[in-house]
Assembly symmetry: C2
Amino acid sequence: MITKDVKKQLIQIVGPENFDDSNAGRLVYSYDATPQFQSMPDAVIAPRNTDEVSRILAICSEHQVPIVPRGSGTNLCGGTCPTEGGLVLLFKHMNRILEIDEENLTATVQPGVITLDMIRAVESKGLFYPPDPSSMKISTMGGNINENSGGLRGLKYGVTRDYVIGLEVVLANGDIIRTGGKLAKDVAGYDLTRLFVGSEGTLGIVTEAIVKLVPKPETKKTLLALYENIDAAAQTVSDIIAAKIIPATLEFLDQPTLLVIEDYARIGLPTNAKAVLLIEQDGPLEIVARDMEKIEAICKKGDAVSVQTAQTEEEAFALTEARRSALSALARLKPTTILEDATVPRSEIANMVKAINDIAAKYDISICTFGHAGDGNLHPTCTTDIRNEDEMERVEQAFAEIFEKAIELGGTITGEHGVGAMKAPYLEMKLEKEGIAAMKALKAAFDPRNILNPGKIFAKDARKRVVTER
Amino acid sequence: MITKDVKKQLIQIVGPENFDDSNAGRLVYSYDATPQFQSMPDAVIAPRNTDEVSRILAICSEHQVPIVPRGSGTNLCGGTCPTEGGLVLLFKHMNRILEIDEENLTATVQPGVITLDMIRAVESKGLFYPPDPSSMKISTMGGNINENSGGLRGLKYGVTRDYVIGLEVVLANGDIIRTGGKLAKDVAGYDLTRLFVGSEGTLGIVTEAIVKLVPKPETKKTLLALYENIDAAAQTVSDIIAAKIIPATLEFLDQPTLLVIEDYARIGLPTNAKAVLLIEQDGPLEIVARDMEKIEAICKKGDAVSVQTAQTEEEAFALTEARRSALSALARLKPTTILEDATVPRSEIANMVKAINDIAAKYDISICTFGHAGDGNLHPTCTTDIRNEDEMERVEQAFAEIFEKAIELGGTITGEHGVGAMKAPYLEMKLEKEGIAAMKALKAAFDPRNILNPGKIFAKDARKRVVTER
């Protein structure tokens, strides 16, 4: 609850135009891209600079007002749903690229910068920021940092955490700290930089970030390999790595996903294939040519029924764009789309896909599976209807079993989407109670009054997927 | 102090042959590779497995006995000196490579494995573990992980933290937790894996680690560029990066260092040059050839008086080995060698080297400077004599000024050596009091009774370099 007095203090900081507690204003920020989660904030606030964020947090801390930092709300774990009310904090005024430093290969950004805008800005200087979450057209850098976003290029290049080398963060008590810097090496104390990355706004509010850039790869080539069965596709993934080739992208799509994407994108995807690998290599011209030749041979030897290399940049772009549109395409099928990201060691992909299909059959639900095969990060996606209570019950049981299987295979409950409110009930499967206890102690150390995105990461009670509005 | 009863309990766990509280046994572990630090532990203990580590920690926690995990003690920050007594914990029984997984490109190791042994083992399978601290012939993986060791290949490949993807850690209370896994992507909760890396044994005891491997580069080429002045060398570093080339190694050595190394290694280093760059590129044959050609042209255009490409593998090996021997070579000069690692953004290297030379002149002390120019990680090294109190006073003042300058240039007080006991008094320069407070809260959350390597990272009081035995 925000009292009249607190409201007055907050308005004094940001001005009346940047504070909104109207019903309409609050409603817009009561949910994010995650189905099943909605909860009204008490107000929405848009600070103009770090100092204002600091003053807001000091007030929130004093009055124990929850505060939820939010980029574009594209996350899929209920991470920015204000499940305990309080303030939603927007970065619409803190959305600039502050610097692209070509000598030190860094970019300094505010949290509200759209990911793709930054990617384009650095590419125009011959540089490259590899993390490319499918939502990058609308997601923000702040959101990517808080969720440690992955993407299609993760196999070769890593994820957001691998590129964040410095942060400005406002702590729960209003303290402003700076971590790291334009430095390739820094061991001055604990690595708070990487700790804040992926902490989902529960340890501090990121107000500025320095990211590492690399030279832009000279060229890129894309191919599609079609398979009659999933095992053969999974074996190809292993065979490519065993040949000591690390492609930039190594995506897997099963037939149900292919059908849906083709129906949406209409680019002539081979919907008769049981499984498809979308493979991309980038780098120097001659190496890309050589790698792609080897990859093609491996695919063919591995029982691919067809291997198609994109002949033009447009064709390649269409293929990857189609893959990126998987969520949108699937979302058209039924009212509710639950996109998960159980992740396993690369060697277990075939086993995991098979287990997912068995589990879907067992619970009589529809699951499409696609994902980043190269790094074992799969996206089993269920199209369903939240109003069908009986089916939802089965969906929940199925996903619990999927997570159990992932853990059994040495995997994790979430590879790149985060825990948020949605996965919190499952976290103990991965971490066991000792791991949860350590993380809770860490959370309490940074946020003793539990105002920073409360209700996220840690479950209040037993496994339960559907959260009702408070 | 270890009471009779505690001693009895510890011996029950590890057996009498793995517990040593004799004077001779303790003396051996009263110091590490850092000058000026010595302090006797109460006993030395060598557990045989994780369960024993857990039981030891439960006892230490109960009786508030300090415990200092130690690999080979090659660190340069007093990180493994038992400054507050207690137990030194050795990993001589936990020194095996448990698995090299060629499908998932991982190695699973115990902390006592010698770094170079692991590097050789994975290279024999065509794989590559890039972090290569100069001490790798004797350092352990556990030590590398605790100190987040860097090395010569950091510019292109990153440091130890970039390769650790899973850990088994025993917490202060004896809890055993597992973080990460054989997973390229994992966002299940806070990133404890990277937090433990570089935490210098102050948050938990690492008992097992999964490291990421990459395919072994096909080939490697090495060249030496000689300069008449430091500025030209520093400019070349910037020019290479500006040409979008990231060499595997880009080392800088000033003339005083060259003279000392040549005197030690006798491989015909050009001791008449004022500065030398040692540059190495690895990768596919044609790319290495192309990059090295470009680099050679950049060096020549940048006023290098001579550029010499190593003609054979042996010649290349001799050059990098000579560079790696810098500390040993310098240590022969005078009784005390203080090797520092102030680090700045790459673009500030020339400014930093100049500042170091000015400061050395101002305090009338002898400083040689070499280091990883590509990542701004310099090693100003002072050869002195701890018994010369007057000079030591000046050395301390000089280094304080060097750290101040590094911070002023956007750098840090330590790039790869860690804080330990030695840098603790300077940490606040980099982190300010708010950053220190956040890290102390984190430490208290993990180690409320302050038994894990106490006295490290955080300073008790004001700046003071020399620590006397307790």
